[in-house]
Symmetry: C2
Subunit: 388 residues, 2 copies
Amino acid sequence: MKNFTFHNPTKIIFGEKTVSKIGKEAKAYGEKALLVYGKGSIKKNGVYDAVVKSLKEEGISFVEYPGVKPNPILSHLNAGIELAKKEKVDFILGVGGGSVVDESKGIAAGAMMTGNVWDFYLGKADVKEALPVLDILTLPATGTEMNPTSVVTNDRTNEKVGRGADPLFPKVSILDPTVTYTIPPDYTAYAVVDAISHLIEGYFTGEDEWTPIQDGYVENLVRTIMECGERMLKNPKDPQARATFMWAATLAWNGLGVAGIGGFGVPMHMLEHPLSGIYDVAHGAGLSITIPAWLIWKAKTDSRKIAQFARNVLGIEEKDQGAAARRGIEALKGWFNRIGSPVSFAQAKIPESDIDSIADIALALANTWGMDDYMNRDLIVKLYRLCL
Amino acid sequence: MKNFTFHNPTKIIFGEKTVSKIGKEAKAYGEKALLVYGKGSIKKNGVYDAVVKSLKEEGISFVEYPGVKPNPILSHLNAGIELAKKEKVDFILGVGGGSVVDESKGIAAGAMMTGNVWDFYLGKADVKEALPVLDILTLPATGTEMNPTSVVTNDRTNEKVGRGADPLFPKVSILDPTVTYTIPPDYTAYAVVDAISHLIEGYFTGEDEWTPIQDGYVENLVRTIMECGERMLKNPKDPQARATFMWAATLAWNGLGVAGIGGFGVPMHMLEHPLSGIYDVAHGAGLSITIPAWLIWKAKTDSRKIAQFARNVLGIEEKDQGAAARRGIEALKGWFNRIGSPVSFAQAKIPESDIDSIADIALALANTWGMDDYMNRDLIVKLYRLCL
């Protein structure tokens, strides 16, 4: 194992009927909230009413800030910062999916910065303090509810960038799996792909060779997520599958799976971000295209870990390492497609002719994320060709 | 999954040469420490010198409080509370094994209580605030470095009781596996048994039926710990095995393995505490006696989970559930003995004639720990007879 620091102070409150606990939890952080949410689905499923009731019971006032987009955009985030400052809120309460929580983090950071919050996303400024962030998660997928990262798209440049800072760990995240029963099949599938992607980035790229704790952690969660994925698509109200997936998605990207593996990259996310940043493609849908492509390239020179994954997660019984890896990639790709997530540019209606311009954005990300030592433009173009 | 709250704010700093980080970390918690340690082994392996140097570099003064016993006793703990109060220390710094950290927690709690700290251990008083606890762990086993629990023996009554409170989570725990290379084989074996015991209590007694996240988490860690155990006994300076075991032991009892499983008991610890409380038996050595005994009894009426453990952890290939469970228990018991940990009262020189008096103490513990609905004196005596 490599040296590491692990510190995840987020308090998770998990289970049925936990939304109404928000008032009591929030009271420790002040008396006035910025209530951030998306297009208003929380008004249909009862979550909004439960939140408002709970806040009122504890005498907490709030200013509403709806309209967060599925891929949150910088202009909306900046307007949120202005509102938070003007209204002098004590904390940010995000109610929604990963995008809502990510934008809430950006607002929390920006409200206490003197400069432009985009500089933080670009790595040009640090966040050393932020307003407290609390959230009620309605779409498990990104893991943002238990990590310090926020992903935002600059709507002027199409750059989609993620960055983290310790003050952005949510103080409290409330996870009630019953509010996820109404997530439609396509978004359920994309969420499953997203959670799997978080587990396998470090697994396939980690620096250390012998990491049985982390390998087993990842393999078990991917197996569990795949089982839950199939069950949720068969029965969207399967209580066991919804609850287990929700917690698995949180554990998938809370730092535990990568603690001790040393340096690692996120090539599959690097390839994906330009796709959901430019096109009308969900993040998870983009990932089910870039994951197999990157694995096919990786397996050509290093199939050890992919073969291990194929055997331990996908049940591939094949002695030859290269063959096991290849069969594993095919099995994963086929499974993504079976649950309704695209596996090619063609399926996602991304034109082949755009590869050049997409590659420029991916290359910029590779530099920002410190993968420039093994990523270059030629390789990125080659990887996108494997996505066709 | 069942509803749960998970909140583990301990900061872990893991790896080679991390001991010297203590000064900078401690500075956030004040200028004067109570430096708690045991019989002075930290003065032989260089840890004491590194700590003192690091504290001095940051201008942190300290009062030394050595002499913590392997099973920490209340009278020494109480004297530590008096010293902490008299010297007006800002925080407690425990340097040593689980016993040192546990007593540090007790001192941290007692220093801010008006009443007697023993009332907290007995469940008659709550700890709502405590001095900050920081630690440098030199013997991985108990998991205390990332949980809020403290176990202490009342040296007047022989009662050995463990209890937790949120303010007792260590603020910072430094885990440097290289300082564990000198742990002798017997204590290495006991540490391995202890870590395994923490994983399997919830696994075998949890309320919920379908918990793949937690089952896989436990099974993977037990497999890993067993592999590391064998490697550490072969080569005490095996860097991979020492490091991996150290982190696995922390993860074994930090709340993650039991989050979502619902109510669970700790029958194997209940049976063990009187043994190490009364006799010259290490906690882990007591556990390798009580674990097989309890499993044998459990398997008579409910072998499902034991068979699962036998197959997934011990590689038992046996279709019949009852037979798989029985073979699994035999395999685990044999393995405990092979690594040098006792599996019977006879091996640990505990007289059969003491069963009656031991059972009384165990029964009191069953009541304190809320297991009185399924534990009674007759059953406890029966379980101890299986230990002979």
